[in-house]
Amino acid sequence: MRDTKPQRVTASETAYRDATGTPTRTAPVLAELAEAALSLLAARGQRETGGGTSIHVKTTLGVPHLDIRCTGPDLPKAVSAQTAHPSSIPKQRPWVGTYRLAVKAPLLVFDIYWNPGEPLRIMQFSRGDWERELLAERDRVRVA
């Protein structure tokens, strides 16, 4: 079982690749980063003509900069509380999401894709110093 395994279930108790496909709780760290990115877009993002919202953030803690972009019909306030179980992904084809949120720092470090009311899909999530920058920027905007 993979990235969103319910906590307190050990790997040895649950075999990988043969789970039921039930969606699981979105990892708190992922939800916090997504909501920080969305709050920055809401506060300072530029609406694009193609339907997305984006922001270029000059950072102060060492990461060159952050580029955040969310595409979709509007700017959501939060992401799904659940994450799709990987075993469900091959069974739901074709599938197209409504919202896609991506962060570059400057490489693509975070990319999630979802439909309202459905579990989200993780396309990319590379941990690193960019997380500290993103959360610090969110806090600065909150204070302002």
Binding site: M1, R2, D3, T4, K5, P6, Q7, R8, V9, T10, A11, S12, A15, Y16, R17, T24, A27, V29, L30, G62, V63, P64, A84, P86, S87, I89, P90, R93, P94, W95, V96, A105, P106, L107, L108, V109, D111, Y113, R121, I122, M123, Q124, F125, S126, R127, G128, D129, W130
Partner: protein, 308 residues
């Protein structure tokens, strides 16, 4: 201990792969659609080992007064089972898959070398060698975990291609196998990046290995051979930093059209890495490297393997 590292899924469980297929109007992954019985047998082998990852633990536990002696013992056992290097360290959350709870204190890493000479035999030979090395790692990890449970009386869980919850690169770095290179793989001083992984997480007390740096991260800043040879232009100039380590994240959306959406295997970024001989001075590997670079030059560097 709850894991904090997200690990990309394999095959059609990878949401990005499925989305890339959809955008290209494709249903299947050409690399895996093609019949290749020898390779498919290796993949079947590690799948069959998945149920043997864990098992009953001997209730009679062996005391471990000398951690270094136990570490040496495990390394001997790992090599006897087929590993080419073995290292160990304390398990940390960043070594474990995001949200997964692994109830162990330590992690043992094993690697199996892939014969670099296969590089000159074409993509099928490299593909088969890689999958065979994965299968050997599955054998080693499964056997080592069994011995720890049966003979020492400590819980132990094998991680290999059939089933894993361990993020390989940070563990490799911590156990002193080497440093992360621009191509996204760890570079070992003896084997370059020509190896595959297996792991055992366990409560067996052992002495820990230490990280070993020999200048890879600095060298990769100026080398660029992998970047200049990548047919998908997927290896970046830029990098991110995680815990003080540079990570040149491969652009997977650019990698897949070459590494998955063709019927032949791509291993170019590793095969053009000079660290196959640079640190160890192996003359045979150096000659193979030079021969292979002639092939790359004739192909125009960015040409995928198998398109000659």
């Amino acid at each position: 201990m709850i894991g904090t590292s997200w690990i990309r899924e394999q095959g059609l469980q990878d949401a990005l792969l499925v989305e890339s297929l959809r955008q290209l109007g494709m249903q299947e992954v050409p690399l895996w659609r093609r019949k290749f019985p020898e390779r498919d047998a290796a993949m079947k082998h590690w799948t069959e080992l998945a149920p043997l990852r864990d098992g009953p633990v001997n209730p009679v536990r062996v005391e471990v007064p000398d951690l270094a002696a136990m570490a040496d013992n495990i390394k001997r056992r790992g090599r006897a089972a087929g590993a080419d290097d073995v290292g160990m360290t304390a398990l940390r959350p960043e070594f474990i898959e995001l949200g997964v709870d692994l109830p162990h204190k330590n992690v043992i890493a094993v690697i199996c070398y892939e014969d670099y000479g296969k590089t000159l035999e074409g993509p099928d030979a490299v593909d088969l060698e890689a999958m065979t090395a994965y299968a050997r790692c599955a054998d080693v990890a499964t056997e080592l975990a069994r011995q720890i449970r049966d003979e020492f009386g400590y819980s132990a869980l094998a991680h290999h291609n059939g089933s894993f919850q361990i993020q390989a690169i940070p563990v490799f770095n911590a156990v002193g196998f080497g440093e992360l290179g621009r191509h996204g793989s760890l570079i070992h001083p003896v084997f370059g990046s020509n190896f595959r992984p297996g792991f055992v997480t366990t409560d067996l007390p052992v002495a820990y290995d230490l990280p070993r740096n020999f200048g890879v991260q600095d060298y990769c800043m100026t080398c660029n051979l992998c970047r200049n040879n990548c047919p998908g232009d997927a290896i970046p100039d830029d990098y991110i930093v995680t815990d003080g380590i540079k990570r040149w994240l491969t652009d997977i959306e650019k990698c897949y059209p070459i590494s998955r959406f063709r019927e032949t295997y791509c291993h170019i970024c590793v095969d053009v890495c000079p660290y196959i001989y640079k640190e160890n001075g192996d003359a045979k590997k150096r000659d193979t490297f030079r021969e292979y670079m002639k092939v790359r030059k004739n192909e125009g560097y960015k040409t995928p393997k198998g398109d000659r």
